[in-house]
Amino acid sequence: MAILATISEIIRDILDEESLEITEQTQRSALEGWDSMAQIQIVCAIEKDFTIKFTMDELEQLNQMDCVGDIVVLVSGKASP
């Protein structure tokens, strides 16, 4: 849950949508501000916050993902507990 909360906070900050409700089911395609540039910024902020570095493959995967839940799973696998 902590990971979802942190990622949600990042998404709200980057998109400048303070009151946006985000769950694991939230879809990127449904959020207007979440364009390719916002995607890059969100990915960078996640790397900073969790002190992880995505590989090229993972960056590709992240670009294909639509559900926030999938991002949480990928980050959970990389972030040290």
Partner: protein, 601 residues
């Protein structure tokens, strides 16, 4: 914006905070600005969105409203040469060319002959030259051009720096050529990406994954630094420049407290590590003074003690290096206001240097226009923070800048003469003033543009024009321009006034008239006007139309046209006024105590 946010947006920049909150910050800052937006075009050789966002952010932070145009991805060359009309429609005032070493493709083969490498460099530089001349031809915009950072990798190892085909070696040669172009071209501003990347560190600068994935020429953190640095140059290009460093003394310019430790007790000079640090800071400040930034003292001290500090044999700075001196026990904000008054400059031109965080906070709180860099707690690093702040950018440096400090010293002598004179008229006569007043020419162009952009008080309309725009007026038959240089028995005041008039049939509309505060109350405005009327007459003008537009600090010239014999045509609700003078109408000849355009042998 709260102090904390301001702090995070100043050097050293808080990358994670800025990255994450930039959109909100831009929205909030923009909401507070109502003036027309400065039009900045970013033409890129790689992805420009990030760097554009940060340029916008740092300009908004400085109170500059801005609108940004971005070229399509890697289309800087095409945008400049074969614009489809979108750039033309945007009509940029500033053009930033965001190119970098990723745009040096197809390096010469390692076995290439010297001749073919020379040809490669020639062709490469030529390509950029055609971009610059196309842009200069189409727009009256200042051009900001990156040079190139050193390459990420070196196939030749250290030989890369010496072999003719070495990439580092070639990069340095290209940079040399760009620098030469900047030296010879007004309105062309070089952004030293090479220095920026070196101080940031090439290992942190390059992020290959981001390049392959998003065509980011540099890492996301480096983008923030580039945005900050380019914004600093844009601020300077539109006239937001600092002119004075106001310095605390004890533990800022020397180690120790002169009132307690005495002259032999303070630390400056070669005695020990701490003392050497203070000497270097003084040397740095002395260099700022030589390039035209004035120095002032604001210290809680007995005046005599404060002055004695500069008689220390190892003191690099001497008392007469300071153009204003406030040493007393009053609050610093009041003293800084007094310094601004003494120097006839606005608070926005001041930078305050103090080791004491409490004093810095009081000044920042009471005088928000003053820049108060956080210089840290380590005296050996004060210079570092001052230097990295980007506060002292200038689009060009003119001879006037190098002489500014001595001009202010001459002003002190003038004040002494004024005090000794029977009357003000007698004083003006005894100054033995001569003026050169003529149309703006290429020699006078940089300083003229600088004056238009820096002058706030004697500024009739508040309109700003870039150096390129002024160059355009200079060559256009639709404009009449004048600059004035004033010399007197104490020295040359340099170029102190500029007028830009636009012809409309038989009318001349004065779009811009500025004069340096250095020469207020010297009748120079009367000299400028008499020459303008002569020039207008020669050009078949019947009526000269003057405008006064109230701005924050130009109340001083509200009645200028009235006092000069113009008739009021119109006055608006916001107190803007329009004035007319018919050439040939009789006005009482005024005795101007200035010899204008004396013939030289």
């Amino acid at each position: 914006m709260d102090d904390n946010t301001d702090h995070r947006l100043s050097y050293p920049l808080d990358y994670p905070f800025i990255q994450r909150h930039q959109k909100k910050l831009r929205r909030k800052l923009k909401a507070g600005l109502s003036q027309p937006a400065l039009r900045v075009a970013v033409l890129g050789g790689s992805t420009t969105q990030e760097v554009s966002n940060y340029i916008e952010l740092f300009l908004l932070q400085a109170g500059v409203n801005v609108e940004i145009f971005e070229s399509d991805y890697n289309r800087f060359y095409e945008s400049a040469l074969f614009d489809d009309g979108t750039l033309k429609a945007f009509d940029p005032q500033i053009i930033y060319l965001h190119t970098s070493s990723v745009n040096i493709t197809e390096w010469p083969a390692i076995a290439s002959t010297q001749a073919s490498i020379d040809a490669f460099i020639e062709q490469f530089v030529h390509r950029f030259h055609s971009v610059w001349s196309a842009l200069t031809e189409k727009f009256n915009a200042s051009i900001i051009q990156n040079n190139f950072e050193l390459p990420n990798v070196r196939p030749l190892g250290n030989q890369d720096a010496t072999q003719a085909a070495g990439r580092s070696y070639i990069t340095r040669q290209i940079n040399q050529r760009f620098a030469e172009h900047a030296q010879n071209t007004s309105g062309f501003i070089l952004h030293d990406l090479n220095y920026l990347s070196a101080r940031f560190g090439l290992d942190r600068w390059y992020d290959p994954a981001q390049w392959y994935a998003y065509k980011f020429a540099m890492s996301t953190e480096a983008f923030i630094e580039v945005g900050y640095s380019v914004a600093a140059q844009i601020k300077a290009a539109v006239g937001l420049v600092k002119k004075v460093v106001v310095c605390d003394l004890d533990n800022t310019l020397w180690g120790g407290v002169i009132g307690d430790d005495g002259l032999d007790g303070i630390q400056v000079g070669a005695g020990n590590a701490t003392a050497e640090g203070f000497s270097d800071l003084q040397t740095y400040l002395k260099a700022l003074r030589e390039r035209g930034i004035l120095l002032a003292v604001c210290s809680k001290n007995e005046r005599q003690n404060a002055k004695d500090g500069f008689t220390h044999p190892d003191s690099v700075l001497k008392l007469d290096d300071f153009s204003a001196f406030q040493a007393n026990w009053n609050h610093k904000p009041g003293n800084i206001e007094q310094i601004a008054k003494d120097l006839n400059l606005g608070l926005a031109a001041m930078v305050f240097l103090d080791d004491n965080p409490a004093e810095r906070a009081i000044v920042a709180q009471n005088l928000p226009a003053v820049s108060v860099p956080d210089i840290g707690a380590d005296s050996t690093r004060y210079i570092h923070f001052l230097d990295r702040s980007g506060l002292f950018e200038q689009p060009s440096l003119s001879q006037d800048d190098f002489q500014r400090a001595s001009m202010y010293a001459q002003n002190r002598q003038r004040i002494e003469l004024e005090n000794a004179s029977q009357s003000y008229d007698e004083y003006l006569k005894s100054l033995q003033m001569t003026a050169t007043i003529e149309p703006v020419n290429p020699m006078a162009l940089p300083r003229s543009a600088q004056l238009i952009n820096k002058t706030n008080q004697f500024n009739l309309t508040g309109l700003r024009f870039t150096e390129q725009e002024v160059a355009g007026f200079m060559d256009s038959p639709d404009y009449l321009t004048l600059y004035g240089r004033l010399t007197d028995r104490f020295g040359d005041n340099g170029i102190v006034s500029v007028i830009i008039g636009e012809r409309q049939g038989s009318e001349l509309h004065i779009r811009c008239w500025v004069m340096s505060c250095r020469v207020f109350k010297r009748d120079m405005e009367a000299a400028m006007l008499s020459q303008l009327l002569l020039l207008a007459k020669e050009n078949g003008i019947d009526d000269v139309i003057g405008y006064y537009v109230p701005r924050e600090k130009n109340g001083l010239v509200k009645d200028l046209y009235q006092d000069s014999g113009f008739q009021l045509l119109h006055c608006s609700d916001d107190n803007s006024s329009q004035w007319q003078y018919s050439i040939g109408s009789e006005v009482p000849e005024r005795d101007i105590p200035i010899t204008i355009n004396p013939t030289t042998e």
